[in-house]
């Protein structure tokens, strides 16, 4: 059995190395998708578009009002994938809290904080605690910047939310303790749910035309609808249509979701009792 599977691994490796010889090389112009972005000033230029990515690069800026084509793909062209992805995150937060609240119960829900003589939490040194306090606003501000400027510069809801959640991670490792776990959980869970609801309601709002239709883009700058010039430009914050709304919603959801996971995992690892009936059954 062992030898057979080892042989199987070698066979797979051999055939896959044969296969990559036939794959087009990265950047090879003879490959199927060689994309040049020769922008034209025409409205929808459908001539000479050979692949999906070519279409995104040529028309993405005009159709969605976003300078960052990746963001326009994430939230507009493939927005339904992003909804699924946000659902995956929500799902995993729900399942992790379902699983971990079976371990964390009783006394573990209300942690007594061990403090040193000056009132700082014990465990890490005071350098870490004070450093965390100093770093936290900067991290949060940077995360919020990434979320809000998602349609203009590298970033977006997921990245910004993850950066903001590193703030929570810092708090967790520097021994700041959540006192009332249930209350904190409910607060974060509420905001996570709120973010997702905003996302899906924004999707439904475009339902007059189609689900997740970018109905705010390019409508003479009234609300998030400023028309950006084609080609290289500095960009405007109030462009992009529904992309900033979706980005913010996802940012809130990711920040709250990852924070719940971090807090619950750190608490579960320190949970004292094993659960009832664990070793029997």
């Amino acid at each position: 059995m062992k030898l057979v599977s080892l042989l199987a691994m070698f066979i797979i490796a051999g055939f896959m190395f044969t296969g990559i010889g036939k794959l087009h090389l990265p950047g090879d112009p003879a490959g199927n998708s060689n994309v040049f972005s020769q922008r034209s000033s025409e409205k929808t230029d459908t001539a000479n578009i050979s692949t999906m990515d070519d279409y995104y690069l040529r028309n993405g800026q005009m159709e969605t009002g976003s300078n960052n084509i990746v963001t326009s793909v994430v939230f507009d062209y493939r927005g339904f994938d992003t909804l699924g992805e946000a659902a995956v995150l929500f799902l995993v937060v729900t399942s992790i809290s379902m699983l971990l609240f079976s371990i964390i119960k009783g006394k573990d829900l209300e942690e007594t904080v061990l403090t040193d003589s000056d009132g700082f939490p014990a465990g890490m040194t005071r350098i870490v605690s004070i450093g965390t306090v100093l770093m936290l606003p900067i991290i949060m501000a940077f995360g919020a910047y990434l979320v809000i400027h998602g349609h203009l510069s590298p970033g977006g809801g997921f990245q910004g939310g993850a950066v903001m959640a590193t703030g929570t991670a810092l708090l967790v490792i520097s021994s700041f303790v959540v006192r009332n776990l249930q209350k904190t959980y409910k607060l974060f869970s509420f905001f996570e749910s709120l973010g997702l609801t905003v996302f899906i309601v924004t999707g439904f709002a475009g339902m007059g035309i189609s689900f997740l239709h970018n109905f705010l883009a390019n409508n003479d700058g009234s609300f998030l609808g400023k028309v950006i010039p084609l080609g290289t430009n500095p960009g405007f914050l109030n462009s992009g249509g529904i992309l900033p709304i979706l980005s913010t919603a996802v940012g809130i959801e990711v920040f709250c979701g990852i924070s719940i996971i971090l807090v619950l995992l750190s608490r579960a690892l320190n949970a004292r009792g094993s659960q009832k009936g664990g070793h029997k059954c």
Binding site: M16, F17, P26, V35, S37, V70, F158, G231, L265
Partner: protein
């Protein structure tokens, strides 16, 4: 020519990770192995997106060239999705490993069979 080594890396990572899924016996190590597999798929997609002499697909303050070339945007969007999904899978597997450890007192899959007698 050198760029084919990116594909070689992708396949090597995939083969190594699946080999370690087959031979490793610690639940945590299996999680790490699957993370490597997922990274190899991410690397595969991002390699497909690469074009030489190209910029990132962002028009904000992009260099004003005569012929602006950009790398492909959609694989980047997809691996963003895949990273989040991989994070979710990893977190769930780690939590399940923690609870398995609390219930059984071991992480060795030879000891945790999970199957009683068949008949």
């Amino acid at each position: 020519m050198l760029s084919i080594f990116l594909y070689v890396t992708v396949v090597s990572l995939l083969i190594l990770s699946i080999t370690s899924v087959i031979y490793k016996r610690n639940l945590i190590k299996l999680v790490i192995a699957l993370n490597i597999a997922e990274s190899s798929v991410n690397l595969f997609f991002i390699t497909l997106a690469y074009r030489p002499d190209s910029t990132a697909p962002i028009f904000t303050l992009a260099p004003a060239l005569q012929e602006l070339r950009m790398v492909l945007p959609s694989p980047q969007a997809l691996i963003l999705t895949n990273i989040v999904i991989g994070f979710a899978t990893t977190a769930l597997m780690l939590v399940l490993a923690v609870i398995t450890y609390k219930n059984n007192g071991t992480l060795d899959i030879r000891k945790l069979k999970g199957v009683e007698d068949h008949d």
